[in-house]
């Protein structure tokens, strides 16, 4: 029994120009105590899929799922109000921009103490003590003093620590982090990633890490979902994804980033072209237009998920027996 189990999730947005099919039938799970990375470029559906599960989408969104289960509870059955209660108690969220997720008019104390009081139904004094403890856990110096300050008195890294403090204040079973370090500098990013790593080990929380940075994935996660064009193109443990990738998009992602150890001027291999327009998604595999190994079938029929090991799945026609030879020469 997994902590979170999602079957065939679809999310569509209605906009002036038509229907944007942001998430197109994805299935995945999150195990207890693991950290799952979701990697993909902007518009791949990585954030939208998590927001859909949390029922945090704007009005113009429509979603369907055969099955969404969290901690034994069927999320398809509960309404937005019950979901709100669950967020902040059983599920914590951390967003990319810590400034806009904090209310500038309230002190940090108010913003941490309130949710603790609401969700745990304890006295104000007890909640304040707990808030101080949590600020200590996220390594904010002199927490008693910091509780009385406003968000603008905190640096970007400190604000993200506050967001993490709020997210973990009720010992959630699942922590969803949507690009939590993208807005931060590298040295601060390293601090936050270390903190999240420690928290995961200490609190046995499952983490879903949404990011575009393969470096963050390699350092933080046990398993990875690679998303493209609203679908999961490959999933596996980090070693499977980094060392035995099967999907050309995953190959492309890995090859297109320089490593510091690479000598100067070793040519990068980009993925040509741009991501597909999800108002009119391609009929076959969404990656066809940018794939250097694309075959005739890729344009016509979307590839099925093929199970490669207990943890490793990929959706690509290249794995069809009749396609052997098309991409044999590829090494990563």
């Amino acid at each position: 029994m997994h902590l979170l189990q999602v079957q065939n999730l679809r999310t569509t947005f209605r906009i002036d120009a038509g229907q944007v099919q942001a998430v197109r039938g994805i299935s995945f799970y999150v195990k207890k105590g693991e950290s799952l990375g979701i990697v993909g470029e902007s518009g791949s559906g990585k954030s939208v899929s998590m927001l859909s599960i949390m029922k945090l989408l704007p009005q113009n969104a429509e979603l369907q799922a055969d099955h969404v289960q969290f901690n034994g509870q069927d999320l398809n059955q509960i309404d937005q109000k019950e979901m709100r209660k669950m967020l902040g108690s059983e599920i914590g969220m951390i967003f990319q921009d810590p400034m806009s997720s904090l209310n500038p008019l309230l002190t940090i104390g108010d913003q941490i103490v309130e949710p603790i009081r609401i969700h745990q139904k304890i006295s104000k004094e007890a909640a304040r003590k707990k808030a101080i403890d949590i600020l200590r856990i996220v390594e904010i110096p002199s927490p008693e003093k910091r509780l009385k300050q406003y968000p603008h008195e905190f640096s970007g890294g400190m604000r993200q620590r506050v967001m993490i403090a709020i997210a973990i204040s009720c010992n959630p079973k699942l922590l969803i982090a949507d690009e939590p370090t993208t807005a931060l500098d590298v040295t601060i990013q390293a601090q936050i990633l270390d903190l999240m790593h420690d928290l995961k080990n200490k609190m046995q929380t499952s983490i879903v890490m949404i990011t575009h940075d393969l470096g963050v994935i390699a350092n933080m996660c046990n398993r990875v979902l690679v998303m493209y064009g609203g679908t999961i193109v490959e999933e596996g443990t980090i070693r499977e994804i980094f060392y035995q990738p099967k999907h050309p998009y995953t190959w492309g992602l890995i090859k297109s980033i320089p490593t510091v150890s690479t000598g100067k001027r070793e040519k990068l291999i980009p993925i040509p072209g741009s991501p597909p327009d999800l108002i009119a998604p391609p009929k076959g595999c969404p990656f066809t237009a940018r794939c250097e190994y694309a075959m005739k079938i890729c344009e016509k029929i979307p590839p099925q998920q093929i199970t490669l090991s207990e943890t490793h799945r990929a959706a690509c026609w290249l794995m069809h027996p009749k396609a052997s030879g098309v991409a044999k020469e590829v090494t990563v």
């Binding site: 327009d277 005739k296 099925q304 199970t307 069809h320 090494t331």
Partner: protein, 325 residues
């Protein structure tokens, strides 16, 4: 480094061993012609900002109704009097104070003049004043506010203090003084209205320009060597045009109303010319005996006000979609 496909030959035979899976013909697995693939495609139809705004505006029924009404009134004001057998100044004592009839749709006044034709003439004057005053204010406001906002510093300080002083004096006061000084002509009404109405536009343009001048495209324009005036008029003002047009649209009805108000006070347009304001004013003595004499011009004013305000609201939603809920 690992091979992608055949490391340990570990491809597990797929579960999907159904017929379909194996029945796909071999030629489907030929490589696609790479040159046939278009990698840089922009799929969506090209739409400029104005086309986009128009498509939003069109969906607003009140705004569209307003637009139709204004177009009809404008056309009637321009061409209506040509097809009428009466003129605005022809007096006919024999026909004075007639009720509306097929002969005289809106009736006649105490000099026997046809009120329908006079209302159409009134529309000419009123609409002219509305649009010309708004146009003059647009030009002054954009230039003044643009320069003040873009150059900032001391220039901005001085220009804005001057505006504050103008704003501090009640406008009715110096409009009345000006009218007495310049005489009751169409031109003097326009001058009087133009002297103060641009202040709101200027302030709005200034605040727009101040936000936009820190945008990266302004910096980019500087980097390619564009002069200050080019940046202001080629980049900043066109990008402020949405809110500017909205402000100016609301200026039209308020200018019409101001004129009507001045005429109603008796310091507007002089007889025998007529604006909607003077028509209403003229009708006061006979309000209880011939109410239609006031009714028609008053309705004309009201409909025009409503229509222009609806257009303004619609434009605001269409040009600045963020304001829409």
């Amino acid at each position: 480094m690992h091979s992608a496909l055949n490391k340990n030959g570990d491809i597990v035979v797929p579960r999907e061993s159904s017929l379909v899976w194996h029945d796909i013909p071999d030629e489907e697995f030929e490589k696609l012609d790479q040159s046939a693939k278009q990698s840089e495609v922009v799929l969506r139809k090209s739409k400029s900002y104005w086309q986009d705004a128009w498509s939003r505006f069109r969906k607003d029924p009140l705004a569209m109704a307003g637009l139709v009404v204004i177009v009809v009134i404008t056309l009637a004001a321009i061409f209506g009097p040509i097809f009428s057998s009466y003129s605005y100044e022809d007096q006919n004592i024999a026909n004075q104070n007639q009720s509306p009839s097929l002969e005289h749709w809106f009736g006649t006044d105490k000099f026997g003049r046809d009120i329908f034709v006079r209302t159409l003439y009134g529309a000419r004057i009123s609409l002219t004043i509305g649009f010309v005053a708004a146009g003059i204010n647009l030009v002054i406001g954009v230039i003044y506010g643009g320069i003040s906002g873009y150059f900032g510093g001391k220039i901005d300080m001085i220009m804005m203090r001057f505006v504050d002083i103008l704003y501090g004096v009640p406008d009715l006061l110096y409009i009345i003084l000006l009218m007495m000084f310049l005489g009751n002509t169409l031109e003097s009404i326009l001058i009087a209205l133009s002297l103060t109405y641009w202040i709101g536009t200027a302030r709005m343009v200034r605040s727009q320009v101040i936000t936009l001048k820190f945008q990266e495209y302004t910096l980019a324009a500087k980097a390619i060597g564009s002069s200050n005036l080019r940046i202001l008029f080629k980049h900043l003002i066109p990008n402020s045009m949405g809110p500017i047009i909205v402000t100016v649209t609301f200026l039209v009805p308020s200018a019409i109303f101001s004129e009507a108000f001045l005429s109603f006070l008796g310091i507007g347009i002089q007889v025998p010319m007529a604006s909607w304001g003077t028509l209403v004013n003229d009708a006061i003595p006979s309000l209880f005996t011939q109410p239609y004499q006031m009714l028609f011009p008053a309705i004309a004013i009201s409909i025009t006000m409503f229509a222009l305000n609806f257009i303004g609201d619609g434009l605001r939603d269409a040009l600045d979609p963020r304001l829409k809920k």
